[in-house]
């Protein structure tokens, strides 16, 4: 078993569906237990990532409103195999 990793994805400045596509690119490489931390300025990022997590069965651990951007912490739980 390899160690789970924590990865920061900086999508600040990118517009819908940029943050989601950036998250998905990282998700494709990720494995269960990994933490993906998405930084975004797009106002739709929060609801989009929530919808994504509901749909794909991954877990949102934390949503933090930072100064001028949002930090969404996702735990990967829905990878097959």
């Amino acid at each position: 078993m390899s160690q789970s990793v924590r990865k920061v994805i900086d999508s600040r400045g990118s517009f819908c569906p940029g943050p989601l596509t950036d998250l998905f690119k990282a998700y494709r490489e990720a494995k269960n237990g990994d933490i993906l931390e998405l930084l975004a300025t797009d106002p739709a990022a929060k609801s989009d990532v929530q919808a994504w997590a509901r749909k794909t069965g991954n877990v949102i651990e934390q949503i933090v409103e930072e100064q001028g951007y949002i930090r969404i912490v996702v735990r990967v739980t829905a990878k097959g195999g």
Binding site: C16, T21, K55, T56, G57
Partner: protein
């Protein structure tokens, strides 16, 4: 007496959903929503198909993809008197304005969106009838196009999914 069959409960695991977009317009303001929705859906694990028909073919035509425009005619949402839209050069001007604005905001180009879409497994289908009508050949398309299909194939492909007509 036969025993009633026990119906197994539906699995809790998220199932694959499907999104099918029919893109019938060849302008920038129509191509963008199609690819943004396609990319968002693909990221959410949807199976995604885009069916290009009529003017939508311009978006996969390699001679036209980099020159998609925004129409200045019949577009009252533009910040100018509607009548001026018909003047020569207006379409080019409005298109240039939009492209500059998008580049400044770091909005990806249509080509970039197509690249992302393909990496995420989005399938691109060209309409065979439109190809006949417009005299297009497979070689005229960008290589990202998966296949050439007819109406029946698309109907079957989209069965059970969400369909959006643009």
């Amino acid at each position: 007496m036969t025993q009633a069959t026990v119906v197994k409960p539906v699995e809790e695991t998220p199932q694959t959903s499907k999104l099918c977009i029919i893109l019938s317009k060849g302008t920038l303001d129509m191509a963008y929503p199609a690819f943004m929705l396609a990319n968002a859906a693909a990221a959410m694990g949807y199976e995604v198909h885009i069916f290009f028909t009529f003017w939508g073919m311009s978006v996969i035509d390699k001679r036209k993809i980099d020159n998609l425009k925004v129409s200045s005619v019949g577009n009252p949402a533009l910040p100018m008197p509607n009548l001026l839209g018909a003047l020569p050069g207006m379409t080019a001007m409005v298109t240039r304005m939009l492209k500059n604005k998008m580049a400044k905001q770091r909005v990806p180009t249509i080509r970039e969106l197509i690249k992302t879409a393909k990496e995420a497994g989005v399938k691109l289908h060209a309409c065979s009838t439109t190809m006949d009508v417009m005299g297009l050949k497979k070689e005229d398309f960008i290589p990202e196009v998966d296949d050439i299909v007819g109406a029946a194939s698309f109907i079957q492909m989209s069965e059970g999914g969400q369909v959006i007509f643009i």
